[in-house]
């Protein structure tokens, strides 16, 4: 019987500071054992529990796509003990990893359809994984629209990639900030407003939305007004998690455990659940 609580060893390949306040960092990890690497199969939307030896364990969405070779990325916002410790790590430091855990974005459903990706702040991590995945299989999908907002230009994640995506002809990218700076030439305004203005077509389309609760709260009605049905709006829930496998109880909402039955849900599902998230 495999012990689902035991982490497998990984090490830091690279670290990268994402945000101007230096509070968000991306870690790229490598598996220490070949068989662990081979067994590690995941899809965008899933998450892992990362152990920092001596500090503890915390859950993080996987920010890289399974199609990125030799890369397993996690973007970490510094908040508590584990995230602070993660920020102090250097190349080749060893860590523990459990996962992949939870469900993923329903990419099978997206095939042959358009996808609208709406993200805010540092919740863009698994959306990056999703975007990379969709772009790798670009022809399998119709239109792809990305709407992504952050407080300031310096707080946007994956800046280089965003630029690259903006240059591409086969996807629409709208980057917005709450407050620009002197070099900012893009959109200024909150994500819900941008969604309303740019009005991505709901026709044959799915929407995936991740961000702070307040953003989701105001974006959701806009998407519904545009004609997206609740069954076609997906999101990933944030909950305090520990075990990651539906035992420890804290991420329980209704009959579901967010770690095991989620974190990805559509709004038709969420409407039937208690609003405790």
């Amino acid at each position: 019987m495999r012990n689902p609580y035991l982490p497998i060893p990984v090490k830091v390949k690279k670290t990268f500071i994402e945000s101007e306040d230096r509070m968000i960092k991306t870690l790229d990890l490598l598996f220490l054992n070949k068989e662990d690497k081979e067994n590690f199969e995941f899809m965008p939307g899933q998450f892992c529990e990362i152990s920092v030896w001596g500090k503890g364990e915390a859950p993080f969405g996987i920010a890289s796509s399974p199609l990125e070779k030799d890369s397993l990325k996690f973007t970490v916002n510094r908040a508590g003990i584990v995230t602070t410790a993660l920020h102090y790590l250097k190349e080749n430091d060893e860590l523990g990893l459990r996962g992949p855990l939870g469900n993923s974005y329903p990419i099978e459903l997206f095939k042959g359809k358009s996808v609208v990706i709406v993200g805010g702040g540092f919740a863009f991590t698994t959306l990056r994984a999703l975007t990379k995945y969709l772009l790798a299989w670009r022809k399998d999908f119709k239109g792809i629209t990305i709407i992504y907002g952050a407080r300031t230009p310096g707080m946007l994640l994956y800046k280089e990639e965003l630029k690259e995506w903006e240059r591409r002809e086969d996807l629409k990218v709208y980057i917005t900030v709450d407050k620009g700076d002197k070099n900012w030439q893009g959109l200024v305004g909150f994500v819900p407003t941008v969604v309303e203005k740019k009005a991505p077509s709901p026709e044959d389309a799915y929407a995936v939305i991740c961000g702070p609760p307040i953003m989701i709260k105001f974006t959701l009605p806009k998407l519904l007004a545009l004609g997206f049905s609740p069954e076609r709006i997906y999101t990933s829930l944030e909950m305090r998690m520990k075990c990651g496998i539906g035992k420890c109880g804290r991420c329980n909402i209704g009959r579901f455990y967010v770690c095991k039955d989620g974190p990805v849900f559509n709004y038709a599902q969420l409407e039937k659940l208690p609003g405790e998230y």
């Binding site: 019987m1 495999r2 012990n3 689902p4 609580y5 035991l6 982490p7 060893p9 220490l32 152990s51 030896w53 001596g54 500090k55 503890g56 364990e57 908040a79 508590g80 995230t83 060893e94 860590l95 523990g96 609760p213 944030e238 909950m239 305090r240 520990k242 075990c243 496998i245 539906g246 035992k247 420890c248 109880g249 804290r250 329980n252 909402i253 209704g254 009959r255 095991k260 208690p274 405790e276 998230y277």
Partner: protein
């Protein structure tokens, strides 16, 4: 299979088991019973009603090392070094273990810590001759002499026990001191059983509770119910079916151990996120979660309520919140 054994021989039998097994039995410490490993056995204390802390802790200890580590080198503590006997547990708690099995040994992820202990334990239950007025096991399909979840059930008929051997695991430990019970003795056991069952007066109606709760999430009932609650974890820690836990590292530098400790949905910290957001910010949501989880969500997932009717939460709540009353109010209110 019905056998019998004299109490004297029973004591010898348990002592002989100590050679190969770790035997957990109810131990009286300053008037409070708990299941502890024993190194001698002189019979069950006549004052024993039930343990304060439920025997779930034999499989799911309140504080348990999952593994030790030194940097990346991880040594798991999942193995059980010795086989175990759990002696004297009450049928309600045995039933509760079956409910916990759903969570820890269900269809998806297997909790090896729990399963290893469970599989390596033979459970000898002791029927309740004198159930308390707070006992309501019969409301959940149990009873003072229910055999569910037991390997052996003991029925105290005075100077001897009638030994109801329920499983092969139970049969395996028997010795030649266990002899066939006579017709008369079995009749006496039946009588004792009947009398005990008649003593259970707390009938709690469970049918319809789940359906009623389906409609009650937004009800003001939860405000009313939670206002007197102090927000401690007595009800959840003493509950034989509550299974929530926290995972914590106790370490110095990069060397230490990962521990899991019981946790409770009654604590605000249970769901508090690093951002400061708490999906269950007040006592109302937390009380609702406890009741809903036991009598709605659990039923939806596993077809039965997460309650065995042991009455511990009733007896020990510092402000006398009585789950029987709560369930009644849910149905009638």
């Amino acid at each position: 299979m019905m056998k019998k054994i004299s109490k004297k021989d029973m004591n010898r039998f348990i002592k002989s088991l100590l050679e190969d097994y770790t035997v957990y039995a109810p131990v009286n410490t300053d008037g409070i019973f708990s299941f502890k490993p024993i190194d001698n056995f002189q019979g069950i204390d006549p004052d024993y009603q039930n343990s304060k802390k439920p025997p779930k802790e034999i499989f799911f200890p309140q504080s348990e090392t999952m593994f030790e580590y030194e940097k990346g080198k991880v040594t798991s503590a999942e193995k059980v070094s010795r086989k175990r006997i759990l002696l004297g547990i009450r049928p309600c708690d045995a039933k509760a273990n079956l409910l916990l099995d759903n969570v820890f040994a269900g269809e998806d992820y297997q909790d090896v810590y729990y399963i290893n202990k469970r599989e390596n334990t033979t459970i000898i239950g002791l029927g309740c001759r004198k159930p308390l007025s707070t006992c309501f096991c019969t409301s959940f399909g149990g009873g003072p002499f229910s055999k569910d979840g037991l390997d052996i059930l003991l029925i105290d008929i005075g100077d001897k026990y009638i030994v109801d051997v329920v499983t092969d695991k139970g049969r395996e430990i028997l010795t030649n001191k266990f002899t066939e019970a006579s017709e008369e003795e079995l009749k006496l056991a039946e009588k004792i059983k009947r009398e005990a069952e008649e003593r259970i007066k707390s009938e709690v109606k469970i049918e319809g509770v789940k359906e009623k709760l389906d409609t009650m999430f937004e009800s003001s009932f939860w405000d009313k119910l939670s206002e007197r609650c102090l927000g401690c974890a007595v009800c959840t820690y003493l509950c034989p079916t509550c299974h929530c836990f926290d995972i914590d590292d106790e370490a110095k530098d990069s060397q230490g151990r990962r521990v899991r400790n019981w946790d409770s949905c009654m604590f605000p910290l249970f769901t508090l996120q690093a951002s400061g957001h708490n999906p269950r910010p007040t006592g109302k949501e937390r009380m609702r979660q406890r009741v809903m989880h036991k009598f709605n969500y659990f039923i939806e997932n596993y077809k039965r309520a997460a309650c065995a009717g042991c009455g511990r939460c009733i007896l020990n709540c510092p402000v006398n919140i009585d789950i029987r009353k709560v369930l009644k109010e849910i149905l009638t209110g």
